[in-house]
Amino acid sequence: MKPAAPRTDTRKPRLTTSAMIASIAGEGQRTKPAPFGHTLVELAKEDGSILGMTADLGKYTDLHIFAQAFPDRYYQMGMAEQLLFGAASGLAAEGFTPIATTYAVFASRRAYDFIHQTIAEEDRNVKIACALPGLTSGYGPSHQATEDLALFRAMPNMVVIDPCDAHEIEQVVPAMVRHKGPVYMRLLRGQVPLVLDEYGYSFELGKAKLLRDGYEVLFISSGIMTMRALEAAKALVSDRIDAGVLHVPTIKPLDAATILACCAKPGRLVVVAENHTVIGGLGEAVAGLLMREGVHPAFHMVGLPDEFLAAGALPTLHDRYGISTEALRARVKGWLT
């Protein structure tokens, strides 16, 4: 391969490192620090049943903020994810509300049977919050949880939430604690983008919300892809394409009524965009729903390919795999011409 041509623009050179922890915030984007940790601390002041637990990833899941505020309500379980979730089940059985954190890859792949049997089957009130969901690390497949939604969707009793930004995380945390039963939440940590406050948005468990209407295209998205879909919709205005965005943060249970109503609007291209493999995530959930209910809009799925993804810098990878704002915009233009 030829070396890349030297950059001629004067902006800060784009990062090209495959670091484990990388920011998903765009340059100059508004952010908020550790919304999960700070919200949890506020909530725990009111609710004495809340406990924090982690498997050697307190600092990297923003749970260290809870640990500092409530050191006697925090359990370090060591780098032992099976123990983490089994013990969380035991604490829940004794009436507590454990919030158990690790990386999404370890909860979904390494501890799946423990979550399935000791938490989901026993219907224990454990909240699982996992960092590095989908492609939010450039470290390689060991830390890229590209299939977590598919795995947890398939688990009975499990509620699955994929929040978009800091504004939403602040509302998801109290909502999932109010819900009695197991919840899996994709966690954005560190400096988390702040987007949805501009849309007067409020999170409701199990509800999809139309953030922006559009005549020609409807993006259906969750997690950080809602942020990308909103940016793409703005950019598409200059291409004279009118695109709307339906945000679906609760992957399970799916808000079938809202999705069907939005997709039944005639003549609109539906594009499901997700930070997840195209297998078994939001795209296939929506496709299955539309097929079962006889609603047949023109339909495309944007998601990660069914392959082990490369290591590299996130912006590079998001472009390569088609989930950056620019890639999203280009694909929609291609489908419409």
Binding site: M77, L91, D113
Partner: protein, 282 residues
């Protein structure tokens, strides 16, 4: 504190015998079951439910109870027998064992059965749940204990050692674990499937209070439970390594070539019951 539904003056020997009998009757219902394991742990369960533990038969979820976690879910037939003997499950339900709509499925699950604290089946789960329960009980200031029974085959599971490390780390002296060493697992003798000896030394080096006993010697089992209970406040979790004999109490099953899932012919259930009846304690 606990009250025996059939009177206070029933001997432990008789409790263990009754548990074996309930288990054989359930085995006969389905014509199959992990009967050899049920017979080998009957003495341990009799001691747990009629000597060591605190519970209320008419209120299995009573907050002040001691918790019993059956990690080896395939031993459910044995625990159901103990729960029947303890008056937590009505004896009539024995006939439903393993049938459609029964509260007594072949593999033990918390969601099905009163008195069943966890869902087993997948092995190596119990000790991790026990760690969480012990932490929770300590948080609540409860003096209840957590008992968990698991099998020697489960020692192969890495999660068991994760839990063993953490129980010592958190000084869970309200935890009493019992490992049933019958030296049989699915693929053969446990010691040849994956060697786990010297087990006492291993567990002691992990920071546990360890006792190794003949798990079919009731006096020894009782003394071990007493010593483990006396550890409360001493800062160490307790492990009772119980060497047991598969099929204990029914000589022709004891002598049968050892198997994880022994074959019992239809007519043999009655023979097993007869053999047991001949050894009925007073």
């Amino acid at each position: 504190m606990r009250t025996a539904p059939l009177g206070h003056n029933v001997s432990l020997e008789r409790r263990a015998w009754n548990i074996r009998r309930h288990a054989i009757l359930m085995g006969e219902v389905q014509g199959q079951g992990y009967i050899a394991q049920a017979l080998d742990v009957a003495d341990i369960l009799a001691t747990a439910y009629f000597h060591a533990m605190r519970y209320r038969p008419d209120d299995p979820a009573w907050e002040g109870r001691d918790r019993f976690l059956l990690s080896n879910g395939h031993y459910a037939i044995a625990l159901y027998a103990a729960l029947i003997e303890a008056g937590i499950i009505p004896e009539e339900e024995l006939e439903t064992y393993g049938s459609d709509e029964s509260r007594l499925p072949m593999s033990g699950m918390a969601s099905y059965t009163p008195g069943m604290e966890m869902s087993g089946g997948s092995l190596g789960l119990g000790l991790s749940i026990a760690v969480g329960k012990c932490l929770g009980l300590k948080r609540k200031g409860s003096d209840s204990r957590v008992y968990t029974l698991f099998s020697d085959g489960e020692l192969d599971e890495g999660s068991v050692w994760e839990a063993i490390m953490s129980a010592a780390h958190y000084k869970l002296d309200n935890l009493i674990a019992i490992v049933d060493v019958n030296n049989q697992q699915a693929d053969g003798p446990s010691t040849t499937v994956m060697g786990f000896e010297p087990l006492t030394e291993k567990l002691e080096s992990f920071g546990w209070f360890v006792q190794r006993i003949d798990g079919n010697d009731l006096a020894a089992v009782r003394a071990a439970f007493d010593a483990a209970k006396a550890q409360h406040g001493q800062g160490k979790p307790s492990m009772i390594i119980a060497d047991t004999l598969m099929g204990k109490g029914v000589p022709f099953l004891e002598a049968r070539e050892k198997n994880h899932f022994i074959r019992v012919e239809a007519h043999e259930w009655r023979l097993a019951l007869d053999a047991l009846d001949e050894r009925k304690p007073s």
